[in-house]
């Protein structure tokens, strides 16, 4: 099939970052130096080329976009300072915006001021919505669900989850269809036979277990500052800490809800710190806060080559996660105080509003990588296993 050359694609992607990539003359040094490149995935040069020539479909069907962990090695070795690593990040933003049908992601990415406004207004909306149903603030003990009814939070959460699920599913479906076609992976090839199922299970374990939870390649191949920093300050650990913390908190919330359903413990019942679910939540929260705080510090200092360039989208994501984490801890602190402080209630309202927003905006912002990257890694694992 003959494809039409289209120069608009590159300038479109440049709205997501990667201003310097037009200097690229396709020498391929980036691909040669990338520690992650394999026969099954060659980038960044090829991705840059797709953008320069305007092969939008090819670009959006590339698992390679998500195979990259932005270590920045390629940008360091680029003879024309075209910042290929920055291009890869911009292309991922472009992909998130393209997989999203609503146009919200595009708006958030390309209009940072409007995006920030949306974030603020949305948080304010959630807060006002919940405040509208508020009850009394008990001063004897911090009765947060007396202030904002648990049922309201629960129902609102369900609605937000449903919206996110639908939007996310649409995005993932778009991505899967594109990657499937580009990599010649059919449904039959994934689940059509016992052998196919075994292969798919292996690929799934590689994508979710080894690479996502285990961060194998991020840790082993992409740790650009490996020789410089102790393990607890390296990129992969900070990222893992944040991710594990987030997943731990998610698990604690689900278990807590399960305990309430099972009638073992009602949500909101004061429990000691060593209570298993509370302990899981606390440890997870600490991991999350440590990871995200360090990521913010590193990004702010901009010393490490992988975070030399930052966009509003990077900051928004980090800020929302950090606010959610910090306010959550502050509430926990307030819960253990002898008398209930008034700020505890307001903080709770703020916490819930921001957490809702974080979840609701997930498919439209950097958070979406949490789903798109494992999908791409699944296809990569399938290709490797072939």
């Amino acid at each position: 099939m003959t494809a039409q050359v289209d120069v608009r694609l590159l300038s479109d992607i440049q709205r997501y970052g990667a201003a310097d990539v037009s200097a690229c003359f396709s020498c391929g040094t980036c691909t040669a130096t990338c520690p992650l490149v394999s026969e099954d995935a060659t980038f960044p040069r090829r991705m840059i080329r797709y953008a320069q020539v305007g092969l939008r479909d090819k670009l959006l069907s590339s698992k390679e976009l998500w195979t990259c962990y932005a270590c920045g090695e390629c940008s360091e070795s680029c003879p024309t300072q075209a910042e290929p690593s920055e291009f890869m990040a911009a292309a991922r933003r472009y992909a998130i915006a393209s997989y999203d049908r609503t146009g919200l992601a595009r708006l958030m990415y390309t209009r940072p001021i409007i995006g920030t406004l949306i974030a603020v207004i949305l948080a304010a909306f959630f807060a006002l919505f919940m405040y509208a149903a508020h009850g009394p603030q008990s001063t004897t003990s911090l009765d947060i669900f007396g202030f904002i009814p648990e049922a309201l939070i629960h129902d609102l959460g369900i609605v937000v989850m449903a919206v996110v699920f639908l939007a996310g599913l649409a995005g993932v479906a778009t991505m899967v269809r594109r990657l499937g076609t580009a990599n010649a992976v059919t449904l039959r090839a994934v689940v059509g036979s016992r052998a196919a199922l075994r292969r798919s299970a292996g690929a799934l374990w590689s994508a979710l277990g080894v690479e996502s939870l285990g961060q194998r390649r991020y840790r082993a191949d992409c740790d650009s500052d490996a020789s410089l920093a102790p393990w607890y300050r390296r990129r992969w650990f900070l990222h893992a800490s944040t991710m594990w913390g987030f997943l731990g908190l998610l698990a604690a919330t689900i278990i807590d809800y399960g305990l309430a359903l099972a009638g073992i413990k009602a949500t909101g019942t004061p429990v000691p710190i060593w209570y298993p679910v509370r302990l899981l939540g606390t440890v997870s929260g600490l991991l999350l806060l440590y990871g995200v705080s360090m990521l913010i510090v590193q990004r702010y200092r901009g010393v490490e080559r992988s975070v030399r360039h930052s966009t509003a989208a990077d900051w928004t994501f980090l800020a929302l996660v950090w606010i959610t984490g910090v306010t959550g801890f502050a509430i926990e602190l307030a819960l253990y105080l002898p008398s209930a402080p008034a700020w505890g209630y307001w903080l709770f309202l703020f916490h819930v509003a921001v957490a809702m927003e974080l979840v609701l905006l997930a498919p439209f912002m950097k958070f979406a990588h949490a789903v798109y990257r494992p999908v791409a890694l699944f296809f990569l694992a399938l290709a490797v296993h072939e």
Binding site: T2, Q4, V5, V7, S22, S26, R46, R49, V53, K58
Partner: protein, 580 residues
Amino acid sequence: MTDKQRRIGVYVCHCGGNISDHVDVDQVVAAAQAEPGVVVARQMMFACSDSGQGEMERDIEEQHLDGLVVASCSPKLHVVTFRGVAKRAGLNPYEYTQVNVREQASWVHTEDAQGTTDKAISLVRAGIARTRLTEPLEPIVVKTTQRTLVVGGGVAGLRAAIGLADIGLGVFLVEREAELGGWVGRFDEMYPTGKNGRALIASLIDEIGRRPSITVFAGAEMVSKAGSFGNYQVGIRVGAASPETLTIEVGSIIVATGFDAYQPEVGEFGYGIDGVVTLPEFKELIEASAGPLSYHGRAVRSVAYVYCVGSRQGDAEPGANAYCSRYCCAATVAASVQLASRDALVHQYHLYRDMRTYGKFELMYTESRKLGSVYLKFADDAPPAVAQDNAGHLTVTMRDLLTGGEELAIPADLVVLVTGMIPCKNDELINVLKLPLGRDGFFNEIHPKLRPVETVVDGVYIAGACQGPKNSSESVASGLAAVTQSAVILKKGFAELDPLVAVVDADACTACGVCLDACPYGAIEMAAVTARPTAVISETGCKGCGGCVPMCPENAIDLRGYTDAQITAMIDGLLEVAVA
């Protein structure tokens, strides 16, 4: 025999192992020592080193040597070096013989050590045999006419004329067209500085006008050349309406006749379709319009450049231009930058084989990419195709090697065929000058690195794009190099030539005329120097090729430095070993 009286020094060089690894130098020295007339025979690690040369000079002076033989490398490399040794030590340089035991023995026979050594010995014996018969020779001194003819009034010729005038030489400048200026005179903005070509030419013409020693003939052609090195009589045909031929006397000639633009055949990359133009046509189009481009009344929103049209063609085709035209990549990139700076919204696609924006032009290439030009690389054997649909829209299709061989379609309002340089049609001039052409049809220099503007015709130099594709600054540089070379032979008023030329024994000559036909340089004529006509060889016209020597039925011609007696002695020297 004069053998007994000769005092010859023989030096065998190790060349740091290049020779001594395969040749037993001790044996060679011993064999040389045993030769009659040899008074000194030594070996040296590097004969060409300062210490080696010094040792030879001492020997020549202290041992009163009258002949010198160095067995080392090719004479192409060091004959001048060792003639210099002889000269510094007070020995006539033509008493020196170089024997090539490296290229002719050690480098080519690495398997048979004794055989290689034997061959080296026989070569040295031949060299000694020749040296026994050498005679002191003096350079031929020629008085030169201190004027130069410059053929071609383009940027190279104009600048050369000014340069010649400024060092005090008289100049005749001949231009075929009615106007001076050539190609550069038709350009406005030129890369990489953006300087205006017309303004450059105007300032050069102005400079020429201020130099009375320059005589300009425009609308004129060089039609004949007589005389020899240092003193040429040249016929110039002037006047279009009533042509007449003037004769001028010059000491040297600088040929700066430039190039023609390659003209594609109709159908070649779509040439002939409305909207498909060559690079010079595109350049004119840009210069004729201000702001965004339009072609035949239609706005040009996208341009596709197809590179290497008429250049780097496959060797297989007869008359193919196998060479790279060098200037076109940079010229096209510059034009695209020029266009982009006028019209930020125009889309530009460059379909290339290799981008050769060498040197500082690389910066323009980067700038052009930053301004939005897209570069697509096609394979040598898969050129792009240009097609027009019913609505008149042009599309170029190609496979981009950088995008995994993806077939791409490029919509273009204008397709520019990036055409290169071809040699000028100059048959008459080529015939008059008798300059050799390269396979590419451009004039050939003697040596591309060391003698880049000299030709096999002494005193005739080439400059600018008549020698091969060049941009304007390279053309000017070679023009000025030709000025310097003219100065070398003209400024002193005389020049010295190698005395290794053919001479006629007038007594033996029967004036049969065979040698006249044998001489490729027209250096022999019949003249009545004595009572009867005999063949007379011009010392300045003869190149010492030896072509006439074996043709003479009376053996009346000898070549100085390579006389029949010397060659015979060398053959005897070689055979001596072969029999032993």
